[in-house]
């Protein structure tokens, strides 16, 4: 027995929409609580007044401006350093078969699995020896040589015709000049993709910064939010929801504007 096509279409659409609403429910709930006075946080009336008070309260109750600054410096710093370090390594591995390059590449890929936060204790000790505990450099440093970045850029560089490379060298360009003039411009979309993935990963990263930082001057947003929600704030859910939305705000807005670019990047990049 088959349903007529029209009825089935309506049924499928209805099911998809119900599921979509269910999926968005926690977010809508948080938005409701954040934009209404606390008294309305848990009961729903269409006449409830809108307010920004919860955001203002959260902004002043904890050093969020400083947390924002820390996170922005952190994600941009990591991204810039990753671009440099990964480009150099990826170029060597893509273009030359030098002594031990295969083993080196295999060893690099280990980090896809064993990220720095899996080895928290040992890495914490290394930072202690370097005197980098409670610094932004310390939070970022273990992530600079990213296996994922090297892998991604190596694949990209391999697809660039070697003739372009040779042409640049005939004109007397050095290796670094060749990378700068030939490879970087051609790999631009991949850098955009990798940059977006890197920024959103480190904007959201939590365990490692939680361990390494212990002062307002270095704490990124995620750790700041956790400290705020667990210590300062009893149970005013409206303010906590406002703070949670605020910390993800810039990333969310960027995502809404550049939706297509974001999704493309995650696809290109494959793994975070």
């Amino acid at each position: 027995m088959r349903m007529p096509n029209r009825a089935r279409e309506i049924f499928v659409t209805g099911a998809a929409w119900a599921f979509g609403l269910l999926w968005a429910l926690p977010l809508f709930y948080a938005l409701w609580a954040a934009f209404h006075p606390s008294a309305y946080a848990t009961h729903f009336e269409l006449s409830a007044p809108l307010t920004l008070q919860n955001f203002i309260h959260a902004w002043h109750a904890a050093p969020f401006p400083r947390y924002f600054a820390n996170t922005i410096m952190l994600v941009l710093g990591i991204m810039a350093a990753q671009f440099v370090v990964c480009t150099l390594a990826a170029f060597g591995l893509a273009r030359w078969k030098f002594f031990g390059s295969d083993i080196l590449f295999a060893l690099i890929l280990v980090q896809l699995m064993v990220t720095p936060d899996v080895l928290v204790l040992e890495n914490y000790r290394s930072l202690q020896k370097l005197g980098l505990i409670d610094t932004l450099t310390g939070v970022g440093l273990p992530y600079v040589a990213s296996a994922f970045g090297i892998f991604l850029l190596r694949q990209t560089f391999k697809s660039i015709p070697k003739e372009l490379d040779d042409a640049a060298r005939m004109e007397g360009a050095s290796t670094l000049q060749t990378i700068w003039r030939v490879y970087l411009p051609l790999a631009k979309p991949i850098y955009v993709a990798y940059g977006l993935v890197s920024v959103s990963y480190h904007w959201n990263n939590f365990l490692w910064p939680l361990i390494v930082t212990n002062s307002v001057e270095t704490r990124p947003l995620t750790v700041g939010l956790q400290v705020f929600a667990s210590v300062d704030q009893g149970i005013d859910w409206s303010v906590i929801c406002a703070a949670a939305l605020m910390t993800s705000g810039p990333l969310m807005i960027a995502f809404l504007i550049f939706q297509r670019a974001f999704i493309q990047s995650f696809l290109r990049a494959g793994i975070r």
Binding site: P26, M113, S248, M252
Partner: protein, 296 residues
């Protein structure tokens, strides 16, 4: 001849020079710590004036007798076994919906994908509110249907499952985009042919769609599996491993042993177990992905 040899030598030197910054950083934050962790697990934890001494497998014996370790290990296995297939199934369903000619599919895609962009800590705090026992939305809904309140995160029977729901909510939308990309690669004439044959929806899915998205499924499954054993954010933000260790996971237990109990050698032994687990997933990936994906 002479010139040629210099360029060749040059390539070896230049290659290593280019890779050098990455090599130093990777060695100091991945490879050396991994080896040191394994070695440390055979020593005792230095305490005060008592230096650490070689104790062989004692840490591992203690581990086998440690009920919290088994709790964390089994919880983590259950976590992986439940969240990975459920998230993948939902992701595939979402992708099929969004890929079709459904009304408002842009809004749907947005609803599915948005949780992925949220930081886990922010999502965890939102869900904490959602789960609150007397006035959280979930209990309000349950009460409306005439059921009793559930203390989602405070009850050992539901705490772990409540965390799993958050993980699935965050991950399914991310996996969806991979399936979406895979679905768009399926040649349309296959579906055309199926329509000519008057094949039912389920047959089309089973005979065409499912085999063609199989490589994507494997790829996503392996990555989800790796993630499942590195989960820690929501445990810290939502339950702290409680109540009574009911929701503790491997990496969370390592974090606790290392930074709350300061038992560094035991933490090293636990980390070694985690490394072994991740290593076996890596081997599985090597055999499954490399052998089965090439018909793409």
């Amino acid at each position: 001849m002479q010139a040629k040899r210099t360029t060749k030598l040059n390539i070896h030197v230049q290659g290593w020079l280019l890779a050098l910054p990455a090599v130093i950083l990777l060695a100091s934050f991945t490879h050396i710590p991994a080896v040191v962790t394994v070695i440390d697990s055979f020593y005792s934890t230095p305490r005060g004036r008592v230096p650490s001494v070689f104790i062989g497998l004692d840490q591992y014996q203690a581990m086998l007798a440690d009920p919290i370790f088994w709790r964390a290990f089994n919880n983590n296995l259950l976590y992986a076994v439940v969240t990975v297939p459920v998230a993948i199934a939902l992701a595939l369903g979402m992708a099929l919906w969004v890929n079709g000619r459904i009304k408002g599919r842009t809004a749907l895609r947005l609803a599915f994908f948005t949780p992925t962009i949220l930081p886990m800590v922010a999502a965890a705090n939102i869900w904490l509110f959602f789960y609150t026992s007397d006035y959280g939305l979930l209990n309000q809904i349950i009460r409306a249907f005439g059921f009793a309140n559930v203390n989602w995160l405070g009850d050992p029977a539901t705490a772990l499952w409540s965390l799993m729901a958050v993980t699935i909510w965050k991950e399914a939308g991310f996996f969806m985009i991979f399936f979406l990309a895979a679905l768009q690669q399926v040649p349309p004439d296959l579906y055309e042919a199926a329509r000519m044959e008057n094949a039912g929806r389920f047959t089309v899915f089973r005979r065409i769609t499912w085999p063609l998205v199989m490589p994507t499924t494997l790829f996503v499954a392996i990555n989800a599996l790796i993630n499942a054993f590195r989960i820690v954010d929501q445990v810290i933000a939502m339950t702290g491993g409680g109540p009574n260790n009911a929701s503790t996971l491997l990496l969370f237990y390592i974090y606790q042993v290392a930074f709350s109990f300061w038992d560094s050698a035991y933490a090293a032994a636990l980390s070694t177990v985690l490394l072994l687990v991740l290593g076996s997933v890596a081997l599985a990936q090597f055999y499954l992905l490399d052998r089965k994906i090439h018909y793409r």
